[in-house]
Chain length 114, copies 2
């Protein structure tokens, strides 16, 4: 996965463990693709301060993932869910009974809410 | 849910965010049901130090759950998975084709690995 996308995922997963200011700066950098001088200007601070904040938060996010592995689990579960839905699709194509087909639709909805 | 069980779940979910010593003390208190004086003796420290550590960790664990809601999500997902498996069981009881039944078994295995 591209690093910027990975960092965005870490940020949306662990953002609640950072301060509001940290999240704002990280979003401007990783989601909105702004440069450090641009973010410094918005926050009325120096490029160096923004650089340090991003570096510190980057380290914190990687540290949380190293310990909790939530992004890793999320990616693994998404693959399992895709696999599940493919199998349900095959099953549905083989079933003619309407009530059973409805039950499969219900099962798919449950999987989507996981 | 009983508080002690809930704290055990928080500890197994967020324990990686605590230090080894904090986890050890919390496990002795919440999982092994030892008293504070007993834990103090094992750790060669005072009852007050253990009391403070448990109080601090308790607050940290509740804080992590408040922000990440992983135990809440876990409980919700377990209910959805139970519901899914019940529906698969009904579906299987209505299907006579052996290949389709095998596909349902496969789907159930996938759900268990979520």
């Amino acid at each position: 996965m591209e690093e910027r996308i990975y960092l965005s995922m870490l940020l949306s997963t662990y953002g609640s463990l950072l301060t509001e200011k940290q999240v704002n700066v990280m979003k401007l950098y990783y989601d909105d693709d702004l440069s450090m001088p641009e973010i410094a200007e918005i926050n009325n601070t120096t490029r160096q301060a923004i650089h340090d904040l991003i570096k510190r938060c980057h380290k914190m996010l990687l540290g949380y993932e190293d310990k909790l592995k939530l992004v890793d689990k999320y990616n693994r579960n998404e693959n399992i869910k895709k696999n599940l839905k493919d199998k349900l699709c095959i099953l549905k194509s083989k079933i003619s009974d309407e009530n059973n087909a409805k039950l499969i639709d219900d099962i798919e909805k449950n999987i989507n809410s996981l």
